[in-house]
């Protein structure tokens, strides 16, 4: 489509032919859609072109045999030991090595959205099953995902499903469906919540499975979001999805995750329309967003603060370091993103909250450990100081470093350690602790 056909639509396609498809655009796309980008990732995306690169992200790619084997073993050992740290390791391995990184990224997005914590659930198998449910619909249907969540065992334990009985309706799940999962504050009343809670009564867990407890379900008349009848949980979910607030709520969160921490209302509206048009199917919505002018606009570049997973896994991927998965899970927890244990029912709010004096120090310590113990210098890296610095500025900062910083780095390389390994480690340490590296 031409620009003229879309007018000022923020989701109009980015014209890579005119506006450019360089390493910077490729790096921007990959950092937002996977966890960091290696030089090879960037080269491949560049060679493929924008459309094919995005298509590869939003469609299912075959996994390698090696990945399938490690994935199977890591998942199996997590379920065998019942240790949540092993499940974290399994997921980190997927984030790092899956051929479908956007699925993992969206799984993390939905994990934060539906924020269920093992601290209360205390079952690796239930947390893993919820993660499977999320992954299955990560790029699929939000309505199917929301419906599945209402019956998910971990969610029912997390939000006290078994306490939701016809004579004593527990509002926890109904409240979160409206406030945190589908509508946001201001788009429902307290009465909607209490009535919706009645609709979910009897949605219980028995023998580790979802169980519709008819004896505890309230089959009476309820009025939710303006509709009256013998409503059950599915009806409430359908009513929520039908509200105009629902796609706007999701659109705002998607823009917050993929574009900017301060989305404009017109951008929210445009993406909400796309969500509604695609009937809450995420793959076409994300395809449109990732190919849009909005996604590549100057205000969207380097506009997000890296989450701990972006920061840590991105560092691994960029430097091709070998990683200890369980240790990585502990590092993420220290940095404020403990997988399978979001801090509140709101999940990780992210944005500026990722950075504090304490977490910044933790990030610096992580980089110090990484470059000291794990980084393997790349054989093909340039030898001349200017080129070496530019190589890593391009790789790690998407080329974004002012002249002064660049000169100081060159000076460091020229005056620093003579051994190439020590020189590269020192340089990486400096770049990865720059303020610019905290952004993507």
């Amino acid at each position: 489509m031409t620009r003229g056909a879309h007018g000022n639509d923020p989701l109009r396609p980015y014209d890579s032919g005119t506006m450019g498809w360089t390493r910077r655009e490729a790096t921007h796309l990959l950092w937002r859609t996977q966890f960091g980008a290696s030089k090879a990732d960037i080269d491949n995306a560049l060679a493929a072109g924008l459309e094919r690169a995005v298509e590869r992200l939003v469609t299912s790619q075959p996994e390698s045999q090696s990945f399938q084997r490690s994935d199977h073993l890591l998942r199996q050992v997590a379920e065998d030991t019942g240790n949540i740290l092993d499940l974290k390791a399994w997921w980190i391995n997927r984030m790092l090595h899956s051929a479908n990184p956007l699925v993992e990224r969206m799984s993390l997005f939905w994990h934060s959205h539906f924020a269920t914590s093992d601290v209360k659930v205390r079952s690796v198998r239930h947390m893993a099953a919820q993660n499977d449910l999320i992954r299955g619909e990560a790029l699929g249907s939000f309505s199917a995902l929301l419906s599945g969540m209402a019956r998910d065992v971990a969610m029912l334990i997390w939000l006290d499903g078994n306490a939701n009985r016809k004579r004593h309706a527990n509002e926890n799940f109904a409240r979160e469906v409206m406030e945190l999962f589908a509508l946001d504050v201001g788009h429902y009343s307290e009465r909607d919540i209490s009535e919706a809670a009645r609709a979910f009564t009897g949605w219980h867990v028995r023998n580790d499975r979802f169980w519709f407890n008819r004896r505890q379900h309230d089959f009476g008349q309820k009025t939710v979001l303006g509709r009256t009848g013998d409503l059950d949980g599915e009806d409430v979910i359908a009513l929520c999805l039908a509200q105009p607030a629902c796609p706007r709520f999701l659109a705002r969160k998607l823009l917050h995750a993929f574009v900017t921490i301060v989305p404009r209302e017109e951008d929210v509206g445009a993406l909400a329309s796309s969500i509604r048009r695609h009937d809450f199917h995420m793959a076409p919505v994300l395809r449109q967003l990732l190919l849009s002018q909005l996604f590549f606009s100057p205000s969207a570049r380097h506009a997000l603060i890296k989450s701990p997973t972006d920061f840590v896994l991105g560092a691994y991927r960029s430097t091709k370091s070998s990683e200890n998965l369980r240790q990585t899970a502990r590092v993420l927890a220290r940095l404020g993103q403990d997988l399978f244990a979001p801090p509140t029912v709101k999940g990780w709010e992210g944005g500026r909250l990722w950075i504090s004096s304490s977490s910044l120090l933790q990030r610096t310590n992580f980089v110090a450990d990484l470059v000291a113990d794990h980084v393997v210098p790349i054989n093909s890296e340039p030898k001349r100081p200017e080129r070496l610095v530019q190589y890593y500025i391009d790789l790690l900062l998407s080329g974004r470093a002012d002249e002064t910083a660049s000169d100081r780095l060159v000076q460091y390389v020229e005056e620093g350690a003579r051994k190439p390994g020590a020189r590269t480690r020192g340089l990486l340490h400096l770049i990865m602790t720059m303020p610019e590296y905290q952004l993507m």
Binding site: L73, Q76, D80, T81, G82, D86, R122, S123, N324, L325
Partner: protein
């Protein structure tokens, strides 16, 4: 007489050397140990004899050849450091005229000794390294082969002849190499070599073998070993702060229970000795000191079975045993003497422990009421499980564990332990409920006339990869004057079978006996292969690399058969012996 090597050796020089050879060979000749030809007063002395007989079979062993085919070894061969070492090896082999295995067999077929001597007013000791070869011609051959090197390095190496039959080469930085007809000596001190040589020509200086503490070590540990190590602890103490760096009291209660009394005996012994023997079937490593347990004081009697004229029992071997450890420890005395045996900062922990225990055994005093019901012999055993308590197996198959306590007052002790077991199970049940797991019910069954109290689930767990928690279904039983607490009812039954049969006792004075069956260890690892593969992948290995790692460990484990450790005391000595057998 000093000269550079470039100067031709005179016939007279050679004749003199020939004349002195018998004198040099006279002291410490074949059949005697090198300690007889080394000066007295060594701080440390180590000796290896006839290592060649071990190296030969090792070179031909299937174990070594299979190690060399491992992918990990292939990877190692591609590394820079390996290539450098290999290049040096090839250079040496070309120069020597035979490969390093042959060289090792030729030169290590005799004796090699290293001794350290105190050097007054210096931090570093003097050292003497002596190599005695079985065939003097081999040394002569080596001497000929290094001649060109010495010629090339004539500015750096000075050769002197003191007329004593030892050709000496100053290698720089005070290092001296002396070559006799059948031996080669390296030292950082001329005088030490002189002392050694003058011993050989009839001087009256004493040899190391005549040192009082050395003779006591030989008396206790014998002389005929593949290798041995001697420490003169009195000299080491006077060289240090007088305490060998050993703490006066233990800082770890478990360490104190397992190893208490040993360090204290080492600190008081005039020597420390270590011997190693090896053949095609296994090895034995023995460490020994002189010991007088009674001299340590009454507080230490709890560690030594010979004072009670008894011994730890032989490690238990029920079906599918992986390993076991048996201990003699008079825990009542140990607990009562804790202030004398342990560092003061640990003592509040005991008070806390007693307070916590009071909740499980209300109205009882741990020291006065509980411990005296226990006897001094304990056994701990680990065995592969049969999972008869499940319809299926857990995904991670842990061994079953059991503690067998000998009871001094069987009826009273068994009831107290039974009460403890039931209360503890109830506490675990509450915790299981909190975590949404199935709780246990306590069941009573009889096996060969013995009542077993065991935990079981209302519904028998079934499935092919059950959660790890299903490895545990604890059981307790009293078998005569012994009480069994086991992590699984199957192991409890096996132990009842075993304990009702004849069980062996270790020789008098045995304080600790440990046995490990490596085939069972390997079986356990193999059963959990996926678990270990996953662990390696979690550590950053690829699936293929993880597979290689696990295969290597399994291969090594399968090569070893058993490992056992015993510590044993008498009125004069305390010895620890580690034995291993292999295929």
């Amino acid at each position: 007489m000093c000269h550079h090597l470039r100067n031709p050796r005179t016939l007279g020089h050679l004749l003199l050397l020939c004349a002195l050879i018998p004198l040099i060979q006279g002291q410490g000749a074949r059949g005697g140990t090198l300690a007889e030809s080394l000066p007295a007063g060594a701080l440390v002395y180590g000796e290896v004899s006839d290592l060649g007989k071990v190296l030969g079979p090792l070179q031909k062993s299937s174990f070594l050849s299979s190690l060399l085919t491992l992918p990990a070894y292939q990877d190692l061969q591609a590394t820079g450091p390996y290539r450098k070492v290999d290049a040096v090896r090839r250079l040496l082999e070309i120069h020597l005229g035979y490969d390093l295995w042959t060289a090792a067999e030729k030169f290590m077929g005799g004796d090699l000794a290293v001794a350290l001597y105190p050097r007054p007013n210096a931090d570093q000791p003097d050292f003497l390294v002596v190599l005695r070869v079985p065939d003097a011609e081999d040394l002569a051959h080596l001497r000929d082969r290094i001649d060109p090197i010495l010629t090339l390095l004539d500015q750096q190496i000075t050769v002197t002849d003191h007329g004593d039959g030892m050709e000496r080469m100053e290698l720089g930085e005070g290092l001296v190499l002396a070559i006799g007809s059948d031996r080669l000596i390296v030292s950082n001190c001329h005088d030490r070599i002189n002392d050694m040589v003058t011993m050989g020509v009839g001087a009256k200086s004493a040899s190391l073998a005549q040192d009082e503490s050395f003779m006591r070590m030989e008396e206790a540990l014998g002389t005929d070993h593949l290798a041995r190590l001697y420490l003169n602890t009195e000299l080491l103490k006077s060289a240090g702060d007088g305490r060998l760096g050993l703490p006066e009291k233990m800082d770890n209660p478990l360490g104190s229970l397992l190893l208490g009394g040993i360090l204290e005996q080492v600190a008081r012994s005039p020597y420390g000795g270590l011997t190693l023997d090896m053949d095609g079937e296994g090895f034995q490593l023995t460490a020994g000191v002189t010991a007088d347990a009674q001299a340590l004081g009454a507080g230490y009697a709890c560690y030594f079975s010979h004072l009670a004229d008894t011994a730890a029992r032989t490690p238990l071997r029920p079906d599918r045993t992986i390993g076991g450890i048996s201990l003699f420890r008079n825990v009542t005395d140990w607990y009562g003497q804790r202030e004398a045996l342990l560092q003061a900062q640990l003592l509040p922990g005991f008070d806390k422990f007693e307070s916590g225990l009071a909740n499980l055994l209300p109205g009882r005093d741990f020291e006065q009421d509980i411990l005296p019901t226990l006897g001094p012999r304990f056994s701990f055993v680990a065995a592969l499980q049969d999972y008869s308590h499940l319809d299926g197996t857990p995904g991670v198959q842990l061994p079953g564990f059991a503690l067998v306590v000998e009871l001094a007052r069987p009826k009273e002790g068994a009831e107290l332990l039974q009460l403890f077991f039931q209360t503890f199970s109830a506490v675990l049940n509450i915790e299981a409920g909190k975590q949404g797991r199935q709780p246990w019910i306590l069941d009573l069954q009889t096996h060969r006339g013995v009542k077993i109290t065991s935990a079981r689930y209302l519904q028998k767990p079934s499935g092919t990869r059950l959660p790890m928690v299903f490895n545990f279904m604890p059981a307790a039983a009293r078998v005569g004057d012994q009480f069994v607490i086991s992590s699984s009812v199957g192991l409890c039954r096996d132990l009842i079978d075993y304990l009702q049969g004849a069980t062996d006792a270790e020789p008098r004075g045995t304080n600790l006996a440990l046995e490990l069956d490596f085939a069972a260890v390997a079986d356990s690892l193999d059963l959990n292969r996926d678990f270990f593969l996953a662990r390696r992948i979690q550590e950053g290995r690829t699936p293929d690399q993880a597979q290689q790692d696990v295969d290597l460990v399994l291969q090594v484990l399968r090569y070893v058969e058993t490992l056992s450790l015993t510590t044993r005391g008498t009125d004069q000595t305390l010895q620890a012996s580690l034995k291993g057998t292999w295929q």
